[in-house]
Amino acid sequence: MLMSLRKRETGVDQRAKEAYFTASQGQLIWARFRSNRTSMIAGWALVIMILMGIFAPFLSPYDPTIAGRDKDYENGAPQIPRFWDENGFSFRPFIYATERERSIKTNFRWVVTENRDKRLYVHFFVRDWEYTLFHLNWDLPGDRFDVDVALIRSDIHLFGVEGGKIHLFGTDASGKDIFSRTLHAIWTSLAVGTLGVLISFVLALVIGGVAGYFGGWIDSVLQMVTDAIRTVPSIPLFMALAAFMPDHWSSETRFFFISIILGVIGWPTLARRIRTHLLTERTQEYVLAAELCGASSPHVIRRHLLPSFTSYIIVDLMISFPYMVRSETALSFIGLGLKDPVNSLGALMQNVSQADVLLNYQWYFIPVIFFVALVLAFVFVGDGLRDAADPYSGTKK
């Protein structure tokens, strides 16, 4: 219905006109966003990847940690299910069984060979390792903060093969399934990014809000600090903070620490924007009117100023998301961030710079594709949202 607002001049559709003028800001933004095809595609890709992350345990056939390793198929190549070969066609996709041998013939190294006569058929909804979905289990320092809630416990997985194992993306040096690891890594990277964005958002809101609303010397001092932090290159700062992490910390603690670092360093840009916006909005008539009516400062901030730029904040958060994911990946990649057994996209890429990986095991690079897709999707959606949230974007063209 709102889509027709572009054709308003030609059409006599009174209802569409009415819908346009009575639409809330959210509806207008959604209508504009929907008409941007690139962003919609990116949005769908993003939704699919988020779902893949959420349902990672169900989608992945094997445990991504060392418990799920396939010790007969280390550094194994990806196995792609096929429907036919020289032995005939099959409606059920299959892969070949593999055999591992070490003898004088193979120079005493383990060599994996495909047995093309023995087919392993792919089955759906098979039972394998047990997992939990929507599981919160945080083992933080201090017993009071421990959380252990699980909504779904199950051992059914989307697919698997009988009498063997299937590795769509191959396996790594210890035999862990790269497909399963990638899916779990997407989830971890998203979670770290979300936490980081939330923390930086709260900091930015408080600091930028205080600076922008009160102005004067408070604003000057806060701006000085913000500018100083913005000037320091963030990755070296990340590295410095991450170097504090003692080695004995559990992976969950590391996870939270990394998120906090990302948040603590990421706030200045957003804080600056919030401040600038508040400084301009503060002098508008509607604020004066509210103040003349006797509204208190918190009331004016909450009811009048914040709603005036909620959409900008959402867009800014969306735009800063890929930076968070990217920073986490860079940090984990150089070994200062998340480590085994936590799978993050950066941790997965840790080994790819070794020469023998570059030459022999190129499937280690498959998670990279997911990383690039994830960041691209976020950037396109953020861009589309920014255009959609700008009320003048339509009139400019």
Binding site: P233, A243, A330
Partner: protein, 335 residues
């Protein structure tokens, strides 16, 4: 003129205040690293077979002045840095940091500045062209490339280039110097050798900087190109690239000069990671080494401070440059 000097002095003062704040942040970070310099040094001695007691540690702390209050030590550190250009000794290596860093820091700065230069040499003409053209293929292609600059971080690009060159040439293109020049003094041959290897880190560091710069230039041009003075100029018969360069580009490039500092910041971000992958031997790699492996807070602090200081300096210089270049600002200042 007097106003200009006043403006420059104010800017210099603000830069100094920023530097002081940064030094406070960096120094606090250095303090927060678990274990002090004295403990670390004696722990190292311990591994060499020497018997260490609590008294030894305390004596060493007194020698290094670690028993003084925080503010006093910060003041001393800042004083040494600002007035004498000294960063003290490295915690682990027990070497003068100035000596350790000298060459390496300049190499890093040179590589980063070259990357910055490269990115704008590409971004300015391409950005101006893409803003003025209505060719959808060009625009979408550039848009996608820009996004890829963000989505494909420099370290991935470095990896991909290494992968390709290892497969094709059997050389992974790592390092900054050939073996015979590694410890040699600077000479023309060494410089040539350096250039023959430095192009790769320069290109890789310039990659996402170019993508960002392209977006900035394009957005600024698009803002200016629709304005009335451009229409007026084209009504007077100015066309083509002459129109673009004389009118909107001059306005659009002002803010670009201002953003140079942040671009340098972004390049510095990538430096340690790229240095690690390409096994460069310069300040970025040293920073990584001091943070990740040896926890050498003195060295790490010095490097972070130097990197930030060069950004602050660049910001100051671009402010002055803009005031000189932009007639609007210049007239406001000089009357």
């Amino acid at each position: 003129m007097l106003q200009f000097i006043q403006f420059a002095l104010t800017r210099a003062f603000m830069a100094l205040v920023t530097l002081l704040t940064v030094s406070l942040i960096v120094f606090t970070l250095m303090e927060m690293v678990p274990g002090s310099c004295a403990e670390r040094y004696l722990a190292f001695k311990n591994t060499q077979g020497a018997q260490i007691t609590i008294d030894d540690i305390e004596a060493e702390e007194r020698r290094l002045g670690l028993d003084r209050p925080f503010v006093e030590r910060w003041g001393k550190w800042v004083g040494n840095v600002f007035f004498r250009g000294e960063f003290g000794d490295s915690c682990i290596l027990r070497l003068d940091i100035n000596q350790l860093l000298a060459d390496k820091f300049w190499i890093s700065l040179g590589i980063c500045m070259a990357a910055l230069l490269l990115s704008y040499m590409i971004a300015i003409p391409v950005g101006i062209y893409s803003a003025s053209t209505s060719n959808a293929v060009v625009n979408n292609g550039l848009r996608f490339t820009s996004y890829l600059g963000l989505a494909l971080p420099n370290f991935l690009l470095a990896l991909i280039i290494m992968l390709i060159s290892t497969v094709l040439f059997g050389d992974s293109l790592t390092g900054l110097f050939s073996k015979e020049f590694r410890d040699a003094a600077w000479s023309w041959e060494k410089f040539q050798d350096f250039l023959s290897r430095a192009w790769l880190p320069i290109f890789i560091l310039g990659w996402s900087a170019t993508a960002f710069a392209l977006q900035t230039v394009r957005a600024l041009m698009l803002d200016e190109i629709g304005k009335l003075y451009v229409t007026a100029a084209s009504a007077r018969g100015v066309t083509g690239s002459r129109l673009l360069w004389r009118y909107p580009a001059r306005h659009a490039l002002g803010p670009v000069v201002n953003s140079l500092g942040f671009d340098l910041n972004r390049i510095f971000n990538e430096l340690p990671i790229v240095a690690l992958i390409l096994t460069l031997t310069e300040a970025g790699a040293l920073l990584f080494e001091s943070l990740a492996r040896s926890n050498d807070q003195q060295l790490a602090g010095a490097i972070i401070f130097l990197l930030t200081a060069s950004i602050v300096l660049l910001n100051f210089l671009t402010d002055i440059l803009l005031a000189l270049l932009d007639p609007r600002v210049r007239r406001g200042l000089m009357g």
